[in-house]
C-alpha cells in the first residue's frame, strides 16, 4: 500500500515537472499580431507613481560621514550636494560649463573675477540667501567654510584639492605647511605639540588665502600659483559647499578661533559621526536634512523657502523642489532592489554592475538614446506591459579601469607574486617593468576587443589617452596600443632583460602573478586576458591569475608587492589635471613606483599645463607633450570607459546625466 502511494506521488511530481518544463515560453506563445497591438498601445506604458511627491532611491552605499571636511565618497556626496549649495554649479549635464549658484557670476578674466596673472579668483556672493535654520548666509560663512575644511585636514579627506592650489602645488595636507620637513600627517596628538605661535601662523596663512569682504560682498581666493581647474574644483563636492559658521561651531566643529584649530585636525570619522557635523547637515540647498538611520535610510525634505528664483539654465527648476520627500534606502541585494522597482516602491533601478544589464533588459518596454532623450524625442515603446524604459549610449564618463605596472615591486619579507624573483624562466626580477619594452609588450598582448564585447557587452569606448572624453587634451586620434601579438613578440625580443647566463627574455620566458580581489569579476577577467595574451606570445610566458580576499589584496597593494594590478579613478572634478596629476605625478606614480626621472618628466608637463589659463595653449601641452610621453613610456594599459545606461520608471521626469554628480540632484526631478 505504502509503495503504491509513493509511486503515485512520484509520478505526479514528475508529470507536473514535465508539464512546467514543456510549457512553451510566453514569448513563443504570443502571436506576433498581438505583440504589435500591444506595442501600439504605448500610452499604457506611462504608468504614474502612487506617491508623486516622494522619491524613494535604493542605494548600496551609506555615507561614511556627513562632515563636509571629511566626506570623500558618493554616498555622502549625494546628501551634501542636495542639502548644501556651491558657489558655482555645472550647467545641466555639462560637467565643464559652469553657472553661478551662491555666487552671482562665474569669475573669469573677462569679468575681472580672475586676475590677469591668474593668482586671485573673486566671487561676488549672492545676497538674501538663508540657511535652513533661518539665518542669513554671509560672506564670512563662505570664507569660513573653506578655511575650516583646509585646517580640518586629514589625508583621507578631499582637502588636497584645495590645499594644492591655495597652499602650493604638490601639497596635499595642511600638516605639510606646519612642518614641511616632517609633516605630522593625520596625527593630531603630534600636531598639538608644535608651539602655539607656529600653529596660529598657519591658521592665519590659510585665512589670508580665502578673504571675505563684507562691504563688497565678495570672497577672494589667493592662489599660490595660477590654477586652471580651480573653478571646476569649486563646482561640486563637500569640499566646495558653503556651511554656516555658527551651526558648525554649535555642532562640534571648529568655531574659527586660530588658537584651537589643531583640536579639530584629522578627527577620526567615528568621532565626527558622534557630532552634529558628522551625523547631520544644514545648508542653504534645495533639501533639508531630516534624519539618517545608518544602514537603513536617509530622509530629506524639500526646503520650502529655497532661495532660487531664477533658473540656472533654461528649463532649470526654481522655488521649492517638486519632490517633497527623498528617502534614500540602503538595499544591498540587487534582487530586492529590483523587486522594489517592479512593485513601484523604488523610483530608481539600480544595477549592481553591467552584469545585471541583461536581467534589466528583460523588463524594458521602451528605449531611447541619450542624445534623443535630451533632444526631447519620445521614448520608443516596444512592450507596454513591461515596467521600465532605458536610456542608452550615455557617453559621459567620470571613471575608468586600467592596468598599471609596478616599476619596482617590494620584495621585503618575500614576494610570492614574482616567482623566483630573478629572470630564470621561473620568475621576474623586482624591477621587471622598469623596461619600457616589457610594458609595451604587455600593452600589445592584451585582447582589448574581447574585454569590450564579452565583458562590457559592446558598450564601451576605448581610451586613446589618459584623460576622459570631453576633457581638455582628449584626442581620439592619438596613437594607442592594439592587440597585436607580432608587435608584442617584437617588444619582448627588444627587451634588455637577460638572465645570468646571457639568455634573452624572449627565449627564457617568465612566471609572475596577475592579482585581483575575489568577487570582482571585471578585474578577474582582465587578469585572465593578460594571462591569455602572454600565452599567445609564447608558452614560456606564464602569468598566474591569483584571487585574493579584499583585505589581503589591499594590504599587498599598499605594500607595493603586486607587479601588475588594476588601477582606476573616479573624477573628483571634471578636469584633465585630476587624471594626469593622479596618474603620473602623485598617487599612482607612487603606487607604481615610477622612477624619479619619469615622474619628474610628467610633473614638469603637468605643472605647466595646470598653470596655463589659456585653454588653447593648455590643450596643446596635453596633446603634444603629455599624450605622446604617456604613449611612449606606457606606464599603464589604458582600457575602456563604459557607455552609460539609465533604467527608469515611466513616471520619472527631469533626469539627465552629469558625470560629476554623486548620483542624483533631486531638485531637478519630478514624477507624474
Amino acid at each position: 500500500m505504502r509503495s503504491k502511494w509513493y509511486v503515485l506521488f512520484s509520478a505526479l511530481v514528475v508529470l507536473a515537472t514535465l508539464l512546467v518544463a514543456c510549457q512553451p515560453a510566453a514569448e513563443e506563445a504570443a502571436p506576433a499580431a498581438e505583440a504589435v497591438e500591444e506595442a501600439a498601445d504605448a500610452e499604457a506604458f506611462w504608468r504614474t507613481s502612487a506617491d508623486p511627491t516622494t522619491w524613494v532611491e535604493t542605494s548600496i552605499g551609506d555615507p561614511e560621514t556627513l562632515d563636509t571636511s571629511r566626506d570623500y565618497e558618493t554616498g555622502g556626496g549625494e546628501i551634501l550636494a542636495n542639502v548644501y549649495d556651491t558657489l558655482v554649479f555645472m550647467e545641466k549635464d555639462q560637467a565643464s560649463t559652469f553657472v553661478p549658484m551662491l555666487a552671482t557670476e562665474v569669475p573669469s578674466l573677462e569679468n575681472g573675477g580672475i586676475s590677469e596673472d591668474g593668482m586671485t579668483v573673486t566671487f561676488k556672493i549672492r545676497e538674501g540667501v538663508k540657511f535652513h535654520d533661518g539665518s542669513d548666509m554671509t560672506v564670512d560663512d563662505v570664507a569660513f567654510s573653506f578655511v575650516r575644511r583646509i585646517l580640518a585636514g586629514s589625508t583621507v579627506s578631499p582637502q588636497w584639492m584645495l590645499v594644492e592650489p591655495l597652499m602650493g602645488a604638490g601639497l596635499v595636507d595642511i600638516a605639510e605647511v606646519v612642518d614641511p620637513a616632517n609633516p605630522p600627517y593625520d596625527d593630531q596628538a603630534t600636531l598639538k605639540t608644535y608651539d602655539a605661535a607656529t600653529l596660529a601662523t598657519v591658521c592665519e596663512l590659510v585665512q589670508s588665502k580665502v578673504v571675505a569682504d563684507a562691504a563688497a560682498g565678495t570672497v577672494t581666493f589667493n592662489l599660490s600659483q595660477p590654477w586652471a581647474p580651480f573653478i571646476a574644483t569649486l563646482a561640486n563636492g563637500g569640499w566646495a559647499v558653503v556651511e554656516s559658521k555658527a551651526w558648525v561651531g554649535a555642532n562640534g566643529g571648529w568655531d574659527g578661533d586660530c588658537a584651537t584649530w589643531q583640536n579639530y585636525y584629522a578627527v577620526p570619522t567615528e568621532e565626527l559621526n558622534q557630532l552634529g557635523i558628522g551625523n547631520s547637515a544644514m545648508g542653504t540647498g534645495p533639501y533639508v536634512f531630516d534624519h539618517w538611520t545608518p544602514g537603513e535610510e536617509i530622509v530629506l525634505t524639500a526646503n520650502e523657502n529655497y532661495w532660487m528664483t531664477e533658473p540656472m539654465w533654461e528649463g532649470a527648476p526654481t522655488g521649492a523642489a517638486a519632490i517633497k520627500t527623498v528617502v534614500i534606502k540602503q538595499v544591498g541585494e540587487f534582487s530586492t532592489r529590483l523587486a522594489m522597482a517592479q512593485a513601484g516602491d523604488a523610483d530608481n533601478i539600480l544595477a549592481g554592475s553591467t552584469e545585471d544589464w541583461p536581467i534589466l533588459d528583460e523588463m524594458v518596454g521602451g528605449e531611447i538614446t541619450y542624445a534623443e532623450y535630451m533632444a526631447g524625442e519620445p521614448v520608443v515603446i516596444t512592450d507596454p506591459t513591461k515596467p521600465f524604459y532605458k536610456v542608452t549610449d550615455i557617453t559621459f564618463a567620470n571613471t575608468r579601469t586600467d592596468i598599471g605596472f609596478n616599476f619596482n615591486v617590494n620584495v621585503e619579507g618575500g614576494n610570492s607574486f614574482i616567482g623566483s624573483g630573478v629572470l630564470d624562466g621561473d620568475g621576474i626580477p623586482a624591477d621587471f617593468f622598469s623596461d619600457v619594452h616589457v610594458r609595451r609588450a604587455f600593452s600589445y598582448c592584451f585582447d582589448y576587443d574581447t574585454l569590450a564585447t564579452e565583458v562590457m557587452q559592446g558598450e564601451a569606448n576605448r581610451a586613446p589617452v589618459l584623460m576622459l572624453p570631453g576633457m581638455i587634451g582628449y584626442d581620439e586620434e592619438a596613437e594607442q596600443y592594439t592587440y597585436d601579438i607580432d608587435k608584442c613578440v617584437e617588444e619582448l625580443q627588444a627587451s634588455e632583460w637577460v638572465s645570468e647566463d646571457g639568455t634573452q627574455l624572449y627565449d627564457l620566458g617568465f612566471r609572475m602573478s596577475a592579482v585581483y580581489n575575489v568577487g570582482n569579476t571585471l578585474r578577474q577577467t582582465i587578469a585572465e586576458l593578460v594571462q591569455a595574451g602572454m600565452q599567445e606570445a609564447g608558452p614560456q610566458f606564464v602569468v598566474e591569475v591569483v584571487g585574493l580576499p579584499w583585505p589581503t589584496f589591499l594590504a599587498n597593494i599598499n605594500a607595493k608587492k603586486i607587479p601588475i594590478f588594476i588601477i582606476g579613478w573616479l573624477s573628483d572634478y571634471f578636469d584633465t589635471h585630476n587624471w594626469t596629476s593622479t596618474f603620473t605625478s602623485a598617487y599612482y606614480s607612487f603606487k607604481q613606483n615610477f622612477p624619479d626621472e619619469l615622474r619628474a618628466q610628467f610633473t614638469e608637463i603637468n605643472s605647466r599645463a595646470v598653470q596655463e589659463n589659456d585653454p588653447a595653449e593648455r590643450e596643446k601641452i596635453y596633446k603634444e607633450e603629455f599624450n605622446t610621453l604617456y604613449h611612449e613610456t606606457a606606464p599603464a594599459m589604458l582600457l575602456f570607459t563604459t557607455k552609460g545606461r539609465h533604467y527608469a520608471q515611466p513616471w520619472e521626469n527631469g533626469w539627465y546625466a552629469n558625470p560629476i554628480y554623486s548620483n542624483k540632484w533631486y531638485y531637478s526631478l519630478s514624477k507624474d
Binding site: T155, P294, E296, W550, L554
Partner: protein, 354 residues
Amino acid sequence: MTQYIVRRLLLMPLTLIGVTLLIFGMLSFLSPAERVSLYVRDIPKNDIVMNSLIERYGLDDPFLAQYWRWMVGQKDAETGEWAGGILRGNFGYSRSANQNIVDLIKRRFPATVELALYSIVPLIGVGTWLGIVAAKNHDKLIDQITRLFGILGYSFPSFVFGLLMLMFFYAKYQIFPPDRLSNWAMLVVSGDSFTSYTSLVTVDALLNGRFDIFLDALRHLVLPIITLSYINWALYLRIMRSSMLESMNQDYIVTARAKGVKEKDVLNKHAKPNAMIPIVTMSGMTIAGLLSGVTITETIFIYPGIGSAAAAASTQLDVVTILSLVLLTGFILLVANLIVDITYAFLDPRVRLS
C-alpha cells in the same frame, strides 16, 4: 534543582570568556594590515594612514595585551581616565554600520526580537503540528503529502525561497512588502509625535494608538516569517513525527489502549507529552538562532535586524563589530541552552538526578 541552575549560571561567564578568547584569537590570525583595511581608502598617503592606525590601536601588540585592552579598556596617560573595554560597556565603533556598537545593538536587536517573536508560533507550532498530523496518519496519503511538503521546504536554500516569495508576493502582486515599515509609516515612527516605548514597532504602534502602523508592520513581517518557517518545518515535522511514532509504539500506549482510553486521549495525554521532549531541545536552539539574527532572510527582506548588520560587518571584515556580535550570539545561545536544560529538567526528572 536550584543548585543545578546556580551551577549553570556560574559557568556562564567562564564560557563567555572562552568564547571571547576563541573568536579574538581567530581574528588575530589576520595581519594588522588586514584588520585595518576597512579604515583605509584607496587614497594618496594611505600607507601612512595604515601604519598610523596600526600604531594607534596597538594592532602590533602581543595577543594578550590586545585582548586585555579589548576587555577592560585603556587608561589615558594624560587624563587618567579609562577608555573602551567591553567590561565597561564600550564595545567600540562599527565602521560598517557607522555608529557605536551599543547603539547598533540597541536599534537592531529589538527588530530581530520582534521577528523572532512572531516567527516562533508558525515555525515551531506549525512544524510540530505537521509532525503530529503525519504521525497520526502514518503511511496514509496525508502523511505522504505532509512529508513531501516539508522536504520541499527543507530543500530550498533560504535565499532562493525568500527571493521567490519576494518576486511573487511583492514584485508581482504588491501584497507583502520587504523592510520593516512602509515609507509613510517610517516617517511617522521617526517623527517626534511617535513615542518608542519598547522599540518593537508592532507593540509601540498599539501603545501609540496607531493601528494602521501596527497592520503595516505585520504586513512587512509576513514574508520573512513564511521564509523562516517553511525552510524549517521539515525538521520539526520529521522529529515530531518519528518521536510520536516511537511513543505510540511504547508499552504504556498499548496499555492505555487496552484499558479502553479514547484514541484522542491516548495521543494528547500519553503520546504527545513524551514526544515533545526533543522538540523542546530543538526549540531552544531555534529561538536562539532567531534571536542571533537570521542573516540571509534579513538581508533579502532588508529587515534591519542583527543578522543583516552581521552580514555587512562580515563582508567588510569589520573586526570590532564581528567580535561584539559574536559575543552577543554566544550570550544568547548560552542563555537559551540554560533555559532548555532547565525545561528539560522539569520534563525529565532523570536530568535533575544526574
